[in-house]
């Protein structure tokens, strides 16, 4: 006899090959281990498949008696599903206020706020503390970055007239060649860091991903501009590559961010502004202007992150100083900026092939370097260095700009 207190689920014609387990499972959720659920339905294989499903899920099936009207089999609820989730906990909460400072490695790739089954593999992420990566501005910067993405194909008028004198065009191509090399470093570094940051710090990953995507676009537009008039690419000097290679080897997130974004990309803001101002054609102007907008965001995150660090860790200034000195020592015997790049900048600022114009161009590049130095010092002071320290450190920055 069926007991009116025992629930019965009617699967009608639904088979276990078509998802009948969902209805059974749903009913079992409301029962305690040991309680029974009656199951009925019209599928001829219902009892065979019910037994299979229950066996695999830790429930027991007993056949219905002839007197169990309206029931084909009974399921006695097991406890495997309860055991699986017994120690589960939430991975913080989805919002920024739900970030856990030190998330366990085995939370791995789970969404922030997800219910985490205990166990699972350790993950390879080695940057696992909030304070090592965080800046309060990160979510806002990501939102801004996501909304400011531009399409290289349409944001730039590639058909605009470019009829530079050959020596000027060669200078543009040389500068573009140099920019591509630097942008490639600026893509690889956040991409490497991104893969090391615990995904619990979602906004930081998103920001680094967009930063890498920004650099990918910059690589594209600088390459297209370089090749626009059919010239060969310019030169790549050992000194430039040596300088960038020291960035690739910086293991600490904050120091990599400091050297690349605060000092390197910070200097690039001046360089890109210089190119915008002295561009001999509208395409060159547009590609440098668009790139500069993106770079400003990268600098903002770097500065905000280091400011956050400085409020938490009094030792961070010493580490920044050491990072600059270490890099300076590594580069002390190298030539600095590729002479071809320097000369090309002079030619672009000169605007004409006369002694007076060249002198004017040379003066402009000197001024650019001075502006870069001022900008770096300003940011260093903003990070808490004294004016003297900022001046000393800025002077040790690579002559390669990035």
């Amino acid at each position: 006899m069926t007991n009116p207190a025992e629930p019965v689920v009617d699967l009608e014609t639904l088979s276990f090959e078509q998802g009948a387990h969902l209805l059974v499972q749903q009913e079992l959720l409301g029962l305690r281990p040991g309680q029974r659920l009656g199951v009925t339905g019209a599928d001829p294989a219902l009892v065979v498949h019910l037994e299979v499903w229950c066996r695999a899920h830790g429930h027991r099936v007993t056949p219905a008696l002839d007197t169990d009207f309206g029931v084909r089999a009974w399921v006695e609820r097991g406890r495997a599903d309860l055991d699986r989730w017994a120690g589960a906990q939430r991975a913080g909460a989805p919002g920024v206020d739900g970030i856990v400072a030190d998330p366990p490695s085995d939370w791995g790739l789970a969404a922030r706020g997800a219910l985490i089954e205990v166990g699972g593999p350790q993950t390879p992420f080695d940057i696992t503390h909030r304070d090592l990566v965080w800046a309060e501005i990160a979510p806002a910067l990501y939102a801004n970055a996501a909304s400011a993405q531009w399409d290289p194909n349409t944001a730039i008028d590639w058909s605009a007239p470019v009829d530079n004198a050959p020596e000027v065009e060669r200078a543009v191509v040389q500068v573009m060649t140099y920019l591509i090399e630097n942008e490639q470093a600026a893509l690889v570094i956040p991409a490497k860091l991104l893969a090391r940051v615990h995904p619990h710090f979602r906004e930081v990953l998103q920001l680094l991903a967009v930063q890498a995507a920004d650099e990918a676009r910059h690589m594209e537009v600088f390459t297209r501009r370089a090749l626009l008039t059919g010239h060969e690419m310019g030169t790549s000097a050992v000194s430039g590559r040596e300088s960038l290679s020291t960035l690739l080897h910086e293991a600490e997130f904050s120091m990599a961010s400091f050297l690349l974004s605060v000092l390197g990309e910070g200097s690039f803001l001046n360089l890109l502004e210089f190119l915008d101002k002295n561009a001999p054609d509208p395409v060159t102007r547009m590609v440098t202007r668009l790139a500069r907008r993106d770079e400003a965001r990268h600098v903002a995150f770097g500065v905000a992150h280091l400011r956050h660090q400085a409020t938490l860790d009094p030792d961070v200034h010493r580490r920044m100083r050491m990072a600059v000195e270490r890099r300076y020592d590594a580069l002390v015997d190298t030539a600095g900026l590729n002479q071809d790049v320097f000369d090309s900048l002079v030619i672009l600022a000169a605007g004409a092939w006369t002694p007076q114009a060249i002198a004017k161009g040379y003066e402009a590049v000197m001024r650019l370097q001075s502006e870069m130095d001022d900008g770096r010092q300003r940011r260093l002071v903003h990070l808490g260095f004294s004016g003297d320290e900022a001046a000393d450190l800025s002077a040790l920055h690579t002559k390669n700009f990035m």
Binding site: S15, F16, E17, Q18, P44, A45, V48, H49, E51, V52, W53, R55, A56, H57, G58, G78, R79, A80, D83, R84, A86, G87, E117, V118, G119, G120
Partner: protein, 284 residues
């Protein structure tokens, strides 16, 4: 303290993950455990009875052979534990939905697809079931065997899947498989839902067990059994291994679920009473 040495058949690469994982778990509980892998069940059964290993994770067919070999050698063996999912299984005889067959006897003169020659669930028990229903395989109906993974006692799913595909393709009139695989094939699309019908279901039988031989040190065997039985699905460390091995909990071993297979083995002359392999067309 001696190491408890277990044999397992490497029917799938996951066997290494499973027993390697259990080995770590057991060792973390101060139990010295190790395992050796066999390519087929026959050598494992022989080695267990000869005392080269203390226990063997045996297929039901290997268990029966182990029992016979042990008896002939004056030894005793017993099933220490088994999975909760090893108890009370059934096999099914499946036809296409539109088949005219309404009962097993309607398969007279038909062609039936079965699994590998040494598969308890897809060949031996179903053949015995047909015989009991009055259909002598080979005489009253043709049998097409799908030999995949011979020597693995049906652990390899390939034979059953091939038989199922042949059924769907109309190459055979019926196919036999373990109940679990009928649902699996339905859900994965090998047998689209509604394309087949369960014509008949065998009686219940048990599957694998952890066989132990009486020459194994009692204290080690006892502790091994206690530790396996203590494994909890609530333990996050061991749960993935239980999932991989397909159980929620270990249960005490029992010998009461092997009657159908024993009958089948005798009918087929698969092993003689001393455990010698006498099956024809069987080369593990």
């Amino acid at each position: 303290m001696t190491t408890l040495l277990m044999g397992a058949v490497a029917y799938d690469p996951k066997v290494v993950t499973i027993w390697g994982g259990f080995r770590s778990w057991l060792r973390a509980r101060d139990f010295d455990f190790d395992f050796v892998l066999y390519s087929n069940y026959e050598r494992q059964a022989e080695d267990l009875v000869e005392g080269r290993i203390h226990t063997a994770w045996n297929s039901p067919l290997a268990w029966l052979r182990t029992e016979r070999l042990a008896k002939a050698a004056g030894r005793t063996v017993r099933p220490l534990v088994m999975r909760d999912t090893d108890r009370d299984l059934t096999s099914v005889v499946v036809v296409r939905t539109e088949s005219a067959a309404e009962k097993v006897s309607d398969l007279k003169g038909a062609t039936i697809g079965v699994g590998a020659v040494d598969s308890p669930q897809a060949t031996l028990i179903p053949r015995s079931f047909l015989r009991e229903a009055g259909l002598e395989p080979g005489n009253d109906l043709s049998v097409r065997r799908f030999d995949v993974g011979v020597g693995l006692h049906g652990d390899h799913i390939g034979g059953e899947r091939d038989a199922a595909r042949a059924l769907l393709a109309g190459e055979v009139d019926a196919a036999t498989m373990i109940d679990t695989n009928h649902l699996l094939f339905g859900r994965e699309g090998t047998l689209p839902a509604g394309s087949t019908r369960v014509l008949a279901q065998t009686g219940k039988f048990d599957h694998c067990n952890m066989s132990v031989v009486d020459t194994a040190p009692d204290d080690l065997v006892k502790r091994f059994g206690e530790l396996l039985l203590s494994m909890s699905y609530a333990d996050a460390e061991v749960r993935p291994l239980l999932d991989l091995e397909g159980l929620k909990m270990w249960q005490e071993g029992r010998t009461t679920g092997y009657g159908l297979l024993e009958t089948a083995v005798d009918e087929e002359g698969f092993y003689d009473e001393r455990g010698t392999v006498t099956a024809t067309e069987y080369s593990p």
